[in-house]
Assembly symmetry: C2
Homo-oligomer: 203 residues x 2
């Protein structure tokens, strides 16, 4: 860029550009927005970024996010929750999605990804061995593998299923079918096919 | 949000949400991306934000961005540039846009906004008095008012024109017409009308 742009400005544009879904134009727009703002938005964001990196960690039991001083995390420590069921998810965000339903009160296990040969992610890069260890060392009766429905999520689920074979635990996947409120006309054909295959008796 | 999300995480989601064009969902996605990243993306961004706020300032002459230790800015100090022409723009980003053309080597003046009664922005909120002062105290022969083509930009240009009346300076606006590479069929009718009104002889 031209010498007319001071280095702190170009550096911030570069830093924003490193975030997913933020291209150079958006990065520049955000930077100039923060330059113009008289309030403390930029410094609040800087502090929040630093705090997030220094004050959080992954729970040593379920690998969901927790704070430095709370390990195992609040969910793992909550004795009111069912200790025998584990929902296995790809990302911490998925834990929030399940929690939001308000219909589950068991344990979680965050894999931190899916098996993806294309992206060079193998089973050893995920928290699968840790899941097997949890099943072996605790009284777990059911593992609900809630990886995303799709090629990689399904492959990961199958890998986990095989890794847990013979350990006396029930292994399930969430139902696949039509989304509630969806419109048949706009549903993709794989979903529709799965929904027809998985049909159930009325009443 | 549920107690399952540690405070540093919710705080970062909130901080991202304060940026323009970043909604709560994108904010959450950016936050969880940074949580997962093992590298220093988050801390680099935090440092860049802090540096930008603490190491930059507005040039006391043209109000473009400059660093704390360079004032007036590099453009104002450059004796190779034409000292008699000023392009007036709304935002520092507009300076970069004009610089990128490579076809202008005069001075700039950044208004930091446009007159906009709807948003409560009056002439006194902009750097208009400072522009008049520059014209009075220097040998300026032409002011090119390059506020955005549109209602507020045009109104601001007219206000500036009146403020500079009788000061012996030529006041111009960039040409309005069809964008190069544009398609007549897709050009809006105001632009097309302006282009027809502003037609010129061929050859």
């Amino acid at each position: 860029m031209s010498k007319a742009i001071p280095e702190p400005v170009t550096k911030l544009i570069e830093a924003f550009s490193r975030l997913p879904s933020i291209g150079p134009k958006t990065a520049a727009r955000l930077t100039y927005y923060l330059l113009r703002e008289q309030d403390d938005t930029a410094l609040v964001l800087a502090q929040a970024l630093t705090d997030m990196k220094t004050k959080t960690r992954f729970c040593s039991n379920c690998f969901n996010i927790t704070t430095q001083d709370v390990d195992p995390c609040a969910i793992c420590q909550d004795s009111n929750r069912d200790q025998t069921t584990i929902v296995v998810v790809e990302e911490p965000l998925d834990v929030q999605a399940v929690e939001r339903t308000g219909g589950y009160s068991g344990q979680y296990h965050v894999l931190h990804g899916v098996i993806s040969p294309v992206n060079g992610v193998g089973p050893d890069d995920l928290k699968i061995a840790e899941l097997v260890k949890r099943v072996e060392e605790n009284t777990i009766t059911e593992i609900i593998i809630a990886t995303n429905p799709g090629l990689e999520g399904d492959a990961t689920a199958m890998y986990i299923q095989r890794a847990l074979e013979g350990k006396g635990v029930r292994i399930t996947r969430p139902a696949r079918g039509l989304p509630t409120g969806g419109d048949l006309e706009y549903v993709d054909s794989v979903t529709l096919m799965r929904a027809l295959q998985g049909r159930s008796e009325l009443g």
